[in-house]
C-alpha cells in the first residue's frame, strides 16, 4: 500500500503554491524558462484531455496525438490563409478536433480492450500520413506558422509571456470544466463505463453515446492544446501526430496518476522536465528514461499524484486498483 505522504489539505496547499510559483515565473526575466513552462502547460492540457478517456472511461487511446495535430494544423492552415485571430482560429481548431474525434470515435468505440488501443493507433497513423501528403503545407517537413494567433490588436501569441498566461488560463479553465464534467451525471456514467459496462447496460444506460461524447470532448480539448503548441513552436508538422507522441501523452497521464485530472498535468510537467534535464545531461538520456518508465510501472502503482493521495482515495480513483483481488482472479476462466 502506498503510504500517505501528505494530508489532503496539505495537498491542496501544495497545488496552490505550485500554481502561484508558476504564475510568478515570467517575473524571473528568463524567457527560456517561460517557454519551458508553457510547454509543460500545453502538454498538461493534452494529458488532461487524455485522462478523461483513460482515467474516467477506461478507454486507452493510443492515438491522441492525432487530435493535437489536427488542432495545430487548423491554426497553421488558417494562419496561412490570413485568419490569425485566436477567437476564430482556436474555436475552429477545437471544432476540427471534435469532428475528427466524432469520426474516429464512431468506428473505434465498437472495439474493446486491446482492439480499441490499436484501432485508435491505426487512425492516428492515417491522420499522420494524411498530414504528410499535404504538399502545399510542406508535406513531411511541415510549415512555419505564418502569423502568431492574435488575441487583440497588438497582443499576440508571439509574446511568450502572453502565450504563457493564456495557456495557463486555458488549462485552469479546462480543468474546472472537466472537474464539473466528471462530477456531473455524465461523468458518473463515464466511471460506470470504466467500472462495469454490462452493469451499466443493465441499469438502462446505453454506453455508446456517452463514450462518443467523451471522446469528442477529449478530442476538442486536445486540439486546443495543439493550437497552443503551434503557437509555442511557431511551426506545424506531421511529427505532432506521430505514434511516439501518443505514447508520450499516455506516459504523462500514467506518470501523474490517471483518473485524477490534476495528476496528468503534474505528469506532463514532470515529463517535460525529465526530458529537459536528462537530455541536457547526456545524449543517451533514453537509457535513463526507459528504465525510469519501467520502474514507475513496476513500483509506483498509483503514480506521482497518487503518492500525494491517501491510500484509500488513490485506489478508489484508479481502475487498476479496483480490480477484484480474489486469489483465483488470474486462474478462473471468466
Amino acid at each position: 500500500m502506498t503510504r500517505q505522504l501528505v494530508r489532503p489539505l496539505q495537498r491542496t496547499w501544495i497545488l496552490w503554491a505550485l500554481l502561484a510559483l508558476l504564475l510568478l515565473l515570467p517575473f524571473l526575466g528568463e524567457p527560456y524558462y517561460v517557454k519551458l513552462a508553457t510547454r509543460m502547460v500545453v502538454f498538461g492540457l493534452a494529458a488532461l484531455s487524455l485522462d478523461l478517456l483513460v482515467g474516467y472511461m477506461g478507454l486507452i487511446s493510443f492515438g491522441h496525438a492525432a487530435f493535437m495535430g489536427v488542432g495545430a494544423y487548423t491554426v497553421g492552415i488558417l494562419a496561412s490563409n490570413g485568419v490569425d485571430v485566436a477567437w476564430v482560429a482556436w474555436p475552429l481548431a477545437m471544432l476540427a478536433g471534435a469532428v475528427l474525434a466524432l469520426c474516429i470515435g464512431a468506428v473505434s468505440l465498437r472495439c474493446n480492450g486491446l482492439y480499441f488501443i490499436f484501432i485508435t493507433l491505426a487512425f492516428s497513423q492515417m491522420v499522420f500520413y494524411g498530414a504528410q501528403s499535404l504538399r502545399q503545407y510542406g508535406g513531411d517537413d511541415g510549415f512555419s506558422l505564418e502569423a502568431p494567433s492574435v488575441f487583440f490588436p497588438g497582443v499576440d501569441a508571439s509574446d511568450h509571456t502572453v502565450l504563457f498566461y493564456v495557456a495557463t488560463f486555458l488549462l485552469l479553465a479546462v480543468l474546472y470544466v472537466c472537474k464539473r464534467l466528471v462530477a456531473s451525471p455524465f461523468g458518473r456514467v463515464a466511471v460506470g463505463v470504466r467500472d462495469n459496462e454490462p452493469r451499466l447496460e443493465a441499469v438502462g444506460v446505453q454506453p455508446y453515446p456517452y463514450k462518443l461524447a467523451m471522446f469528442v470532448v477529449s478530442g476538442a480539448i486536445a486540439a486546443l492544446a495543439g493550437a497552443l503548441m503551434a503557437n509555442l513552436t511557431g511551426f506545424v508538422s506531421p511529427g505532432y501526430v506521430s505514434w511516439l507522441v501518443s505514447g508520450e501523452l499516455l506516459i504523462m497521464v500514467i506518470l501523474g496518476s490517471f483518473g485524477t485530472l490534476v495528476g496528468p498535468i503534474l505528469g506532463a510537467a514532470l515529463f517535460v522536465l525529465f526530458e529537459y534535464v536528462l537530455s541536457d545531461w547526456t545524449e543517451h538520456w533514453m537509457l535513463v528514461f526507459g528504465p525510469l518508465l519501467v520502474l514507475r510501472v513496476l513500483l509506483l502503482k498509483d503514480g506521482i499524484y497518487g503518492l500525494l493521495l491517501k491510500p484509500g482515495q488513490a485506489s478508489a480513483a484508479s481502475p487498476a486498483a479496483s480490480a477484484h483481488v480474489a486469489p483465483a482472479a488470474n486462474g478462473e476462466p471468466s
Binding site: A326, P327, P333
Partner: protein, 246 residues
C-alpha cells in the same frame, strides 16, 4: 517434533494440518484447523456451504498461505511453498468447479500434466483411465469444453490421477451431477480406494461418504466441529443434520 507414523494405526502420515489459520484478504476463514490424512486412508470433509471446505483445500494446495499454524505433507513443511511444488510432492487436486482446459482435447487434458514422479510401479496410464471411464475414451478427441458436466467431472478426476498422486483431493466431485452420474463417481472412487490410493474427499452426500471414507471431519464456520469414523457418523443422525444441513 511429531512422530513419523500415526500413533494409533502405525501408518505413515501424508497430509497434516496443525492449528492452521487461513483466509482471503482481510477476512479469516479457517480457525485453528487440525486435520490428518494417513497413507492408504480415505478421509472426508463435510460442512455446509461457505464453511471453509474449499478454503482448507486451497490452503493445502498452497494457493493460500496459512497465517498461522503449519501444513505439512509427508514430513515436508508446505507453508509458503509454491503451488506447483506442492502438487509435485504428490497432491492430486480435483478442484471445485472442475476447471478442465477447454481448448485441449480430452486426451490432451489427461496428458498435459501427467507425470510419475515417484516412479510408481503401477502408474495410472491413459489405458487405465479409459478403463475406469469408458465415456472419456469415447470422447477422447473432443474438446474439453464440449463435454457435459458429468464428463468434465470424470475428466478432472482422471487428470488428477494421471499425476500419480500420493493423495487425491476431491472438492465437491459430485456437485451438480445427475444422480446416475453421481452413483458412477462414487463407485469409481471406491474402486480407486481399492488400489490403495489415499483420498481426501469433500462432499455433502453423507451416506455416500459414510460408505466410502474411513474417517470424517465436520467443519463449521472454519473450525473442525466433529471428527470420527463412519460408525460414529451413522450412529448419530443429528450430526449430519446439524453440520451438513440436510
Amino acid at each position: 517434533m511429531r512422530e513419523a507414523g500415526d500413533a494409533a494405526t502405525g501408518r505413515e502420515v501424508l497430509l497434516q494440518f496443525d492449528k492452521v489459520c487461513s483466509g482471503y484478504g482481510l477476512g479469516q476463514v479457517l480457525f485453528d484447523v487440525s486435520l490428518r490424512v494417513n497413507k492408504g486412508e480415505v478421509v472426508s470433509l463435510m460442512g455446509r456451504n461457505g464453511m471453509g471446505k474449499t478454503t482448507l483445500i486451497r490452503t493445502a494446495m498452497g494457493m493460500l498461505v496459512p497465517r498461522d499454524g503449519q501444513v505439512s505433507f509427508a514430513e515436508r513443511r508446505l507453508n509458503g511453498m509454491a503451488m506447483h511444488r506442492v502438487a509435485a510432492l504428490g497432491l492430486g487436486w480435483v478442484p471445485e468447479g472442475r476447471f478442465i482446459f477447454p481448448s485441449l482435447s480430452v486426451e490432451e487434458n489427461l496428458m498435459a500434466t501427467a507425470s510419475n514422479r515417484r516412479g510408481s510401479t503401477q502408474p495410472w496410464t491413459l489405458e487405465r483411465i479409459y478403463e475406469l471411464f469408458p465415456r472419456l475414451h469415447e470422447r477422447r478427441r473432443n474438446g474439453g469444453g464440449q463435454l457435459s458436466g458429468g464428463e468434465q467431472q470424470m475428466l478432472t478426476i482422471g487428470r488428477a490421477l494421471m499425476t500419480n498422486p500420493r493423495l487425491l483431493i476431491l472438492d465437491e466431485a459430485t456437485e451438480g451431477l445427475a444422480p446416475k452420474i453421481r452413483q458412477e463417481i462414487w463407485q469409481t472412487l471406491a474402486a480407486i480406494k481399492g488400489t490403495g490410493q489415499s483420498i481426501l474427499v469433500v462432499d455433502k452426500d453423507v451416506r455416500a461418504l459414510a460408505r466410502l471414507a474411513d474417517r470424517h471431519y465436520m467443519i463449521e464456520k472454519g473450525c473442525i466441529a466433529w471428527q470420527g469414523d463412519s460408525t460414529a457418523l451413522l450412529a448419530d443422525a443429528q450430526l449430519a443434520k446439524r453440520y451438513v444441513g440436510i
